[in-house]
């Protein structure tokens, strides 16, 4: 018996399921041992239906792929920092994760 995480992986790697219209996918799952929560999430196209089963931990996403500050601003010492060109050897986070 597959659990919801296994079902999600199965759907994710199955061409027919991944691109199936929501109604069609819901129909397919109806005849399986998928949980009521997954069936509801598919039917409603709303992931929050999964929260009751899998829990809900909000995740911080500072960009799916993050900020780019080529250099860290130093407001105390250089009020013109935002217009200063980035140093090639800059060693500060220029991205968001």
């Amino acid at each position: 018996m597959a659990d919801t995480i296994e079902w999600l992986e199965t759907i994710g790697k199955n061409a027919a399921l991944r691109r199936a219209p929501a109604e069609k996918l819901a129909e397919t799952l109806e005849a399986t041992d998928a949980t009521a929560a997954l069936k509801a999430a598919v039917k409603s196209q709303d992931r929050s239906a999964l929260f009751a089963e899998l829990g809900h931990k909000p995740v911080r996403m500072h960009n799916m792929n993050g900020p780019s500050h080529p250099e860290e601003p130093d407001h105390d010492h250089d009020e013109h920092a935002p217009t200063r060109p980035p140093r090639p050897d800059q060693d500060q986070p220029s991205r968001d994760r």
């Binding site: 790697k13 999964l50 911080r60 996403m61 500072h62 960009n63 799916m64 900020p67 986070p93 968001d96």
Partner: protein, 252 residues
């Protein structure tokens, strides 16, 4: 990056063979999926904190990873999308590890950018395509080419110098609109794109005008895309030089 769809076989093998896996993922559910691949998955999420600079968080991440590397462990860091795009800590950890004599490398992943091309039907080679972190567009004098596509990342925190805020508001987005209006008419279409992270979802695509962008709330995962607003302009002097060069080498 979509659960089940976009993890490469090689990346999965690294995860499965690692002694320790650090995870910075898009989704709690994706993290649960990752936990099926390795017994020791450690989320990096708890190191974020309200009012704490993300810069500090990212340095802590590097320290965490390097502590395990120095302890002789085989360490794998799993980041959503492509681990080298908009990611400082992954590049830094590799740099530090190599400097200390450890073998370290990065495997590419399928990023939101990749999904965006597929879902929006954009070929960056057709008219060219520029990418900007939205804040950079305000902080620096970047030159926008409105004859090509323009993709703006992290628009939900546009204008934030602090790396501490989770979002900036309409007034900040209005500054972005002001900047973009130097190159685009205010009625130019703006696409808001959200790539699916769960395989039961599809991409979400919203379309609005540039003038409405400031009053439109954006999620951190959403990306702004502007289609070309002007035709490609031929570079006649360069075309002439190319013709002369072709002739000189006997190609034409």
């Amino acid at each position: 990056m979509t659960l089940g769809s976009h993890l490469t076989p090689l990346a999965r093998d690294h995860i499965e063979q690692a002694d320790v896996v650090f995870a910075a993922l898009s989704d709690h559910i994706v993290e649960m999926w990752l936990q099926r691949m390795n017994q020791d998955v450690r989320s990096l999420q708890p190191y974020y904190a309200e009012g704490k600079s993300r810069l500090k968080t990212y340095k802590e991440w590097v320290d965490l990873m390097m502590a395990e590397v120095r302890a002789g462990k085989r360490v794998c860091a799993v980041f959503y999308g492509h681990p080298g795009i908009f990611a400082w800590s992954t590049h830094k950890a590799i740099e530090v590890a190599r400097a200390e004599g450890f073998q370290a490398f990065m495997e590419p992943g399928i990023s939101a950018e990749d999904c965006l091309y597929a879902d929006l039907g954009i070929d960056p080679g057709r008219f060219s395509c520029q990418h900007f972190e939205a804040s950079q567009l305000l902080f620096y004098e970047h030159r926008i080419n409105p004859a090509g596509y323009v993709v703006l990342w992290q628009t939900s925190v546009v204008g934030d110098w602090s790396l501490m805020r989770l979002e900036t508001g309409p007034a900040y987005r209005q500054l972005l609109v002001d900047r973009l209006s130097q190159d685009y008419p205010l009625d130019h279409e703006v696409i808001i794109y959200y790539g699916a992270t769960l395989p039961i979802e599809q991409a979400k695509i919203r379309r609005l005008t540039l003038r409405d962008l400031s009053d439109t709330t954006l999620a951190p995962q959403e990306t702004v895309v502007l289609a070309p607003a002007a035709p490609l302009r031929p570079n006649l002097p360069m075309r002439e030089r190319l013709a002369e060069l072709d002739k000189a080498i006997g190609f034409a």
